[in-house]
Amino acid sequence: MAETLRKLSDDLAQTVEAAGPSIVRVAARRRLPASGIVWSSDGTIVTAHHVVERDDSIEIGLPDGGTATATLAGRDPTTDIAVLRTSAAGLAEPRWRGADSLRVGNIVLALGRPGRSVLATMGIVSALGESWRTPAGGRLDHYLQTDVVMYPGFSGGPLVDSEGSVVGLNTSALSRGAALAVPFDTLGRVVEALLSRGRIRRGYLGVGAQPARLPDGLAKELGQETGLLLVSVEAGSPAEQSGLLMGDTLVTLNGNRIRHLDDLFAALDEEAIGQPVPAKLVRGGKLQDAAISVGERE
């Protein structure tokens, strides 16, 4: 009886076992350890930034039951990615797959190794979208939400498709209540940047700002109710060199609406650095165009 159900049950367990050798335990915080994924067989591990509370003396629990120590190679809080380096060699790299291969409704498994053994929960792809800005201003190349149960210690572990390929890194920190996965293409981009530079480049203006309500006419014209009122402009900063003045209200930057501080942080990403980018601001009650050269945060 129930041959199809048993086959599905066996298949799911098989999928978990196939991905298991690429999942490690990451003990880098006081509470329960979290999970990580083998990025390269020579000891690079990718995990979630929010589970790494210290930069060294990080303990990695290996799939064979052994342990190794690791140090932080770099982290990007905006995408919740951290990269660790450990001396352990011969680790098993998982098969990776882009989120393009997924559709809403597909079966996925969230895996973790908060203890010695691999744990799993199952769910489906709930939402899959284009590029998405995290609340902290990072860019995910796909919005990938599932209904898997994020079990204690699952952050940093892989989201696996029905063939056992890893499609993303699970995190419960990027969205309140929803299980999001950082997709493979974003991991690739951020991990490579962290390994080569130790950090993600962020744009820098050198202003102090607060949201301010726009006059009714302008609000209607621009389709936004607030802009960012500059309350200070640092001497010698990119903002000053671009001609910004205290009292200006910034309303767009590089084509992005600037309504509150989060919008500005999001607009100051890596791509904005270096060349002058178009902006709109309100000065003396009038809307005017500007070109702003965004610097790089040291």
């Binding site: 009886m1 199809t4 203890g115 149960v149 079990y151």
Partner: protein, 200 residues
């Protein structure tokens, strides 16, 4: 629907029906009611220690009869108890192998969540053993499951994809997660109870 979905659909219904046949409801004189699982046709029923309690017990059988029951043995540490009703030819559950469960395996939990008799929920095994985040160093063995346990599920059967008993549903640890006592732990408990002549 596709052929495969149809097959899965009917498999799930078959497994649920099979497992529901061995489910009982247990009243311990307090508020609400827990679940129990018919272990032996001659009236041996396994449930949680916290369901059996100490009070006078009544058991509602799947055939509609309501019988008084006697507490045979209880283990508060493993939260497991054996009770008995005077009856024969009861539909005992088929026993499965909890040690063979693997993360990802499909399981069904049957009980009376919020008093709904025989309500069934399906999910998957998260992990098996003492090595689970909730357990925190205790040597107790558990099956962690990702499914929706609710008050009234306690003591009821957790069955595998073949409808065989793998655990006794015991506690919810979150809205979509819970823990069951593995059937091999229940077997050990019964063996010891028998050795100490608590069960004839």
């Amino acid at each position: 629907m596709s052929l495969l979905t149809n097959r899965l659909d009917s498999d799930l219904a078959d497994v649920a029906q099979k497992a529901r046949g061995s489910l009982v409801q247990i009243h311990n004189g307090g508020h609400g009611a827990g679940a129990g699982t018919i272990w032996h046709p001659d009236g041996l029923i396994v449930t949680n220690a916290h369901v059996a309690g100490n009070g006078p017990l009544r058991v509602a059988l799947p055939d509609g009869r309501s019988l008084p029951a006697r507490l045979l043995a209880s283990d508060a540490v493993n939260d497991i108890a054996a009770i008995a009703v005077v009856a024969s030819g009861l539909p005992a559950v088929e026993l499965g192998e909890s040690r063979r469960l693997r993360p990802g395996n499909i399981v069904l939990a049957i009980g009376h969540p919020w008093g709904v008799f025989g309500a069934t929920t399906a999910g998957t095994v998260v992990g098996v053993g003492p090595d689970l985040p909730e357990v925190g160093g205790s040597p107790r063995e558990w099956i962690a499951v990702s499914l929706n346990l609710r008050p009234g599920n306690s003591g009821g059967p957790l069955v595998d994809a073949d409808g065989r008993l793998v655990g006794i549903n015991t506690v919810m640890t979150g809205p979509h997660a819970g823990m069951a006592v593995p059937v091999h732990v229940a077997k050990e408990f019964l063996k010891e109870a028998m050795a100490s002549r608590k069960i004839a």
